[in-house]
């Protein structure tokens, strides 16, 4: 792990001109002038240089000894391994993982409620809609590999940066549906009675709403017009095929939810990849035609109780090793294009997951607001 990281850092260093010095410090013996920052100073640090280089950041983070992360389920985009990897790489820092199954709104609520306390979240992995309402909670920071994140994937000041996206996919049990799912209308068939579940209430959960958006794209709608998606679920409900059970890894393993429309990385994680806890017959399909994705953002809490550890966590997430871990789960990392160019991407994994889609639809903030308004007035009646 460590050697791979260093090799990756070296390649990156060659690629990212401006950052060579910093990366050199990371791999070197730490001769750079490390600085000791106060809590307030560390909360305002905008790059590794403010700590006097990577060694200084690691030292400061070690001194804090803790990192509070929130709403990171172990089976979500490989976060189980990513968290373990961090603790292995930086054994002096203990990760407290709060409320793994919570929503983006829960992250904001926790940051507000626990402001100034040692248990407040240090970093957020957050959906765009909620984030845009709460930009004042965030601290700007640019990771060393900032140049590898495409410009349209990040805030120019470093307030937020895309991390990874899944594609909306249909997971199903091949044993129950040997004919498979080739188009979304297949799900309306009578053999799918009491079978199709989504990840909650679309007026509450972004992942569930994305299932509706996918249905819209696949049924002649667009990001500006999601009504066909609502109509699709109404038909699904009328056909008796819509399940209101909240799908989990357990309901997929037991066969209770034999079809789940959700992010590809979750469908992949609940299938054979999960070993004995998963469903060995679980297949993940990304339908041809218009695809739907939605990047999750990384951001740092402006009032992070462990500001150095928070920044070290971001540096860690944007190393090729961790970006490859996202990829292995079926989530496309933000630095994928740069990694392909620099050949730091895990070729076998990329081959298995499939190349990143050239174009997929991601709702803009305005489109998402419009879609949500329509959902809140139409959804309950459609499936009620």
């Amino acid at each position: 792990m460590k050697t791979r990281y260093l090799a990756g850092a070296a390649v990156l260093a060659a690629a990212a001109l401006a950052l060579t010095a910093c990366a050199g410090t990371a791999g070197g013996s730490g001769t750079g002038s490390t600085k000791t920052l106060t809590l307030a100073e560390a909360q305002k640090a905008t790059s590794v240089a403010d700590f006097g280089g990577m060694a200084g950041l690691v030292a400061a983070a070690n001194k804090e000894g803790h990192l509070n992360v929130i709403t990171l389920p172990p089976s979500w985009a490989n976060y189980g391994q990513i968290i373990q990897g961090f603790e292995k790489k930086y054994p002096g820092i203990k990760i407290n993982s709060a409320n793994p199954d919570g929503s983006s709104a829960d992250e904001v609520a926790a940051a507000k409620a626990q402001k100034g306390q040692s248990t407040a979240p240090d970093v957020f992995d957050i959906g765009t809609a909620v984030m845009n309402q709460n930009l004042d909670l965030l601290a700007p920071y640019k990771v060393q590999s900032w140049g590898d994140i495409p410009d349209e994937y990040k805030d120019a000041d470093g307030l937020w940066y895309y991390d990874y996206t899944g594609l909306m996919s249909i997971g199903y049990d091949t044993k129950k549906f040997p004919n498979g799912v080739k188009k979304i209308d297949d799900l309306l068939g009578s053999d799918f009675k009491n079978s199709v579940a989504i990840k909650g209430d679309p007026t509450a959960a972004n992942e569930a709403a994305s299932a509706v958006y996918l249905a819209a794209l696949q049924s002649g709608g667009s990001a500006d017009d999601i009504q066909p998606g609502i109509d699709f679920f109404q038909k699904l409900k009328q056909a008796g095929n819509f399940l209101s059970t909240l799908p989990t890894q357990a309901t997929v393993a037991s066969g209770e939810t034999p079809v789940v429309i959700q992010w590809s990385f979750n469908n992949v994680a609940w299938g054979p990849a999960a070993g004995s806890a998963g469903n060995p017959n679980w297949k993940t399909v990304v339908l041809p035609g218009a695809g739907l994705g939605s990047y999750y953002n990384q951001t740092i809490n402006a009032d992070a109780p462990n500001p150095a550890a928070a920044r070290l966590w971001e540096e860690y997430l944007y190393t090729p090793a961790v970006q490859n871990l996202y990829l292995a789960a079926g989530a496309y990392p933000a630095q994928l294009a740069a990694m392909e160019k620099a050949k730091t991407v895990d070729a076998a994994t990329l081959n298995k997951v499939g190349a990143a889609p050239k174009d997929f639809v991601q709702l803009t903030a305005d489109q998402a607001t419009k879609a949500a308004t329509l959902l809140s007035s139409k959804w309950a009646a459609a499936v009620g």
Binding site: G127, V130, A204, A205, A208, T245, L246, A250, L375, A380
Partner: protein
Amino acid sequence: MTALASNRGAGVTPRRRGARSGTGWIGLIPFSVYAILFLGIPAVLAIASGFFTSGGTFTISNFSAFGDPVILKDLVGSLGLSAASAILGAVVGALVCYAMLGMNPDGWLRTIVDSAASVLAQFGGVMLAFAFIATIGNQGLLIVILNQVFGPGTFSSPIYTVPGLTLVYLYFEIPLMVLTFMPALEALKPAWGEAVATLGGSRWTYWRKVGFPILAPAFFGCMILLFANSFSSFATAAALISQGGIWPLDIQRALTSETVVGHENEAGVIALGMIVVMVVLMSAYGVLQRRAARWER
């Protein structure tokens, strides 16, 4: 029952009551502190949040939530579910209590029912949801067997709808009724029955003129407890009906929505609505009990 007892006490020995009140309140402190910290303050905070915007300015615009057809539909869902599970739970629970009256209080059956009731009355949340999914869920044992016998697709599980939740809630409502109603039933004195019989009344006369009137306040009190229990239940419903349909789920949605953002403070308004429903119900019960108490005097 407690209220009745203290009323009677007050009538007989007013002076002793007055003397006790000098220091008696000290004993109330632990409970009061507990109730204020864990019931009073959170309730006030929750309700207060309904009167502010997420930015912190005072507003009453959150009350427009009560004009939202979804919220209104879910109120009906919540009231219907709670009433159905409270009435059914109270009736069935009372019948179980009645059946248990005839048993030896120290016998094994009675002991088992007593302890099972105390355990099952607390059996709720996601565990309960999964217990029902495993037995009568769509892939549950019972539905699978029935569909194998009568052909695939003949039966589908009822537990994923708001009315279907009644069945699930009864699982903890009936034991709760047994727990809370049994003491009242046990307090019926056999002598009253004998008195009725001596005066030539039938068993039906006894229940109509003596048993039911005495038990009525306790029965309806227990029923209100069951109602509140269902009305505020959240986790079981959240696991079974992810698309909403009752108020506790609406509160969650308002608080945690990732898609329809900026409605957090509507949760406080719905919470206030829930408290209003309970206050109305408790007041109605209070009136009822006063009438019963008049008869008792």
